[in-house]
Structures are given as structure tokens and as C-alpha cells.
């Protein structure tokens, strides 16, 4: 019996918490935090799948790329957040409802 099922069980739990946060929160910062947790879960899933398939080096190479992507995505998200705060004066996502139809 290997440890893979338990690893993915915890990963699933973590992703659940992240998605819950993204659904429940109205604040953009909190949604970003939820997104971060979800993507951490995805990275863990990828690496433990690589470890199981004896493909760890390959998985590690992918995770390195994922980390680079994550930094830029978070930076872009925070830049959007600050811009939104400057332009719309709020960080509450449900207050954004000028687009309707």
C-alpha cells in the first residue's frame, strides 16, 4: 500500500477549502487567497502523481514552471486589485455590477 491515496485525499481537502473561499467571499483579496490555496493543491497533486509513477524529475520540472506562472498570475491579480481599488474605490466583487443585461 503506497501513500498516494492519502496524499490526494488531503489535497482534495485543501482544494475544497480553496474553492469554498472563492465561492463564499466577496473580497477580491480573499478570492485571491482561495485561488492560491487551490493552485497549491494542484501542484501537490502533480508532484505526488509524479512520485507514484516514478517520474519525479519530470513532475518537478513541471512544478518549477507552475511556480513561475503562479508568481506572475498573483502579481497580475494584485495589480488588478489595486487598479480596481483606484478606479472603482472598492475591493468588494459584488459591488461591481455596472455591467448587466
Amino acid at each position: 500500500m503506497n501513500s498516494f491515496p492519502m496524499e490526494w485525499y488531503f489535497t482534495a481537502l485543501m482544494m475544497f477549502v480553496g474553492f469554498y473561499c472563492m465561492l463564499a467571499s466577496r473580497s477580491i483579496v480573499r478570492q485571491l487567497i482561495g485561488l492560491e490555496i487551490v493552485s497549491k493543491g494542484a501542484m501537490l497533486a502533480l508532484l505526488s502523481a509524479g512520485a507514484l509513477a516514478n517520474n519525479l524529475v519530470f513532475a518537478q520540472a513541471l512544478v518549477l514552471t507552475l511556480i513561475v506562472i503562479e508568481v506572475v498570475v498573483v502579481a497580475a491579480g494584485l495589480a488588478l486589485l489595486v487598479k480596481n481599488f483606484r478606479v472603482n474605490g472598492t475591493s468588494d466583487i459584488w459591488k461591481l455590477d455596472s455591467l448587466k443585461g
Binding site: A49, L52, A53, N55, I69, L96
Partner: protein, 477 residues
Amino acid sequence: MDKGLLAYLLIPLLSAVLIPFAARARRRLADVIANVTLLAGLANLAWLVLRPSMISGGFADIPGDGLTLLLVGAVYLVGFCVTFFSAWFMEDGTPNRQAYYSLILVSVAAMTGVVSATDFFTLYVFIEVLAVTSFALITTDDSGRGVEGALKYFFLTFPASALIILGISILMLTLGSLSFDNLRIFMASGVPSSGPVTFGAALMLLGFLIKSGVAPFHTWTPDAYQGAYAPVSAHLAGIVTKISGVYALIRMAALLHFFDGRALALSDLLMFLGMLSIAVGAVAALRQKDFKRMLAFSSVSQVGYIVLAAGLGTPLAIMGAIFHLFNHATFKTVLFLNSASLEKSAGTTDMEKLGGMEHAMPWTSWTSVVALLSTAGVPPLSGFWSKLLIILALWQAGLKTYAVLALLFSIVTLAYFMVMQRKVFFGKKSRAAEASAEVSAPLLAPAVLMSALIVALGLLFPYFYTYVRMVAERILI
């Protein structure tokens, strides 16, 4: 990665890096560099594909699988139209002019990367680059609505990315590699229990469906398109969201061998969501009051046709899907660029306030009408042929209900466009029409070029059909 097309990725990237340095003193140089880069790429591609020897040989000498080259062509075409339009559209005082052109060039490079990827993870990486550039492009004009659209886009595409990564990890686990060829060989080998691979593929398909804005996940599309900086909405609707989602769906449909009945559940799901999105998009478009928002819903509906055809996955359907993808790029670019012209000249895109624009802006009106008719599938414009292929493929596969529904909703498309034409372009001259004048020739040029292309593709359909058939044969080995 397709090595032959690497130059189409690297040169825009180099230009993008060059722009902030070269155009520091002279702002207009940024426009020139971006336009020249894209035009040169376009000329190169045209020479590659449209040589007489190539055409008479039935495009047999096209390198790679043909799909990549066609889509790189579409990317460059839309990118060029958008940069050319922006060069005259953008006000001189815009603070981030260089960054805007750099971002467009980076997004062109990323799209080239997406279509030339031969591996799921590479595909994913380039799609993320594309997404990141899109947010900044949407918010170019610092309007509150732009930021709002960008945020909604942001918080729907990145959870989708997590799903794609989960799918990739299951695929890596069960296939040992992520290349397209491996999946193709696996699906063709007829291993009895393809369950795990299908499960991984299902997660990835779900992610790509969200990214392409198909019906239950379409909520971000209208907001992002309507809120975006005007020329950017053409870029976004014409090509970006199609490459970042729909292209991957077509590619996966071909790789998963939908046509010989493998992964049947996925095929059914894709077709159902495609049909749903045709219906939802068309019905929602009927009720819209804003020109851009209506176009956005129409885009949801047209993407539905492509997804429906991709889900069917027969060679004829794949041909229809690819052809419709290309057509969509042409007509949506015209429509969104014209909506930008309307916005500039009449100051609004609210359909209640517009009316009789035909008298004030004849060129804008008539190019729009050509594009609208092509969208609705009126012969002999190019949109007619792609819809015909899709509906024929459905009928041939025995899916008569879907075929009839697809035909029916294409009539609904015609209906809402008729309503819109009456409200915006024809009819009584409104106050907005009296106050506005036709935009300058350079702003019209991209729309006229694309409209000419729509008519030409419709009339020269046999040649294009040969090309698309070659593509379908190559990707469905």
C-alpha cells in the same frame, strides 16, 4: 513544439521587448514597430500558403498538420487588424501606449505558442501567458467597467486552470508522458480500459470549456467583452478566447478519437453543452440593448456551433469546426472593430440611442451588414459554408434533432441581427446619427479588408475546402 513556426513566436516577442526602448522618445514608433512586425509575419505566411504552386498542389506541401499554420494565419490577421486600428484609434495622451503594443505582441506570440504546442503542459503554459496579457489589455483605458470585466475573467479562468492541472497529473500518471502523439497512439491502440485516460481528459475538457465561455460557464464573456477597451474587445472576441479554449477542445476531440466512438460520454457532453450554448447565446442576444453586449452573446452562440461540431468529431464535423473558427475570427473582428468606430463617432453603443447610422456612416454600416449576414449563415458568404458543413455532419451522423436545432437557431441568429440592423444602421435618422460622421479611412481599412475576406472566402470556397480537408485528414490519422 513545431520548430518551423518558432520564428512566428520569437519575432513578436523580440519586437515587444524592443518597443519600450525604441519608442521611449517617439511614441508613434511603438505603433510602427507593432504593425510592421505583424504585417511582415502576415506577408510571410501568405507567401507560404498562397503560392500558386501550393494551391494547385492541393496544399499537400504544407508543413506540420496544417491546422497550426491556418491558426497562426488567423492570429496574425486579427492581431494586425487590431494594431492597425488601434494606431489611429488610441488617443495621443494614453499613458501606457508602449505597454499596450508590447502586450498585444506578447499575446500574439503566446497564441502562436498555443497553436504550435505538441504537448499538453506546453499548451497550458502558453494559455496562461495569454490569459495574463488579456487582463492588462482589457483594462487599457482605465475605465471602471474594464477593470470589472477583467476581474470576472480572472476569477473564472484560474480555477479552470487548476482543473486542467489535475487532468494533466492524471494523464501523466496513466500515460507516462503528456505529448499529443502519446495520447493519440493510446486512443488508437484500442486498449479496452481507457477509463483513467478519459477521466483525466474529462477534467481538462471541463477546464477548456470554462475558458472558452461555453453555456453554463459563459457569464464572464459578455462582461469582459463589453467592458474591454474597444479595439481589445475585437482582439479578445475574435481570437484570444477562441485560441485559449476552443482550439484546445478541437485538438482534444481529434486526439480522443471521438469519431470512432471512443470516449462516447465526453463526446455527448461536449455536444450537449455546445447546443446549450447556441441556445442560451441566441436567446440572450435577443434581449440585449447594448451593441457590444449583443455581439458578445452572439459570440457565445457561435462558439456553441464550434463546440457542437468538435464534440461530434467526424472528419466533416472537424472540418466545419475549423472553418467556423476561422470565419468567427473574421466576422467578429469586423463587428467589434465597427462597434469601436461607433463608440468613437457616435459616443455610445446603446442601441436605443443609435439608429439610421447608415446615412452617417455608410462604410461602417455596410461592412457590419456583410459580417452580420456571414454570422447568420447567409449564402454565399463564408459563414454559410461552415454552418452548412456542421449541419451536414450532424445529419450524416444521424443526429437529426441536433441538426434541426442548429438550423433553427441559425434562423434566430438572423432574427436578432435583423432587429439590430433596424435599430442601429437602418431606419429613421436618430440624433446620434445626425451628430456623427464617418470615421477616417485608416479606421475603416481593417473592417473593409476583413469583409473582403469574408466575401472572398465564400466565393472561393472550393480552395478553402481543399485546405480544410487536408487539415482534417492530417489531424485525424
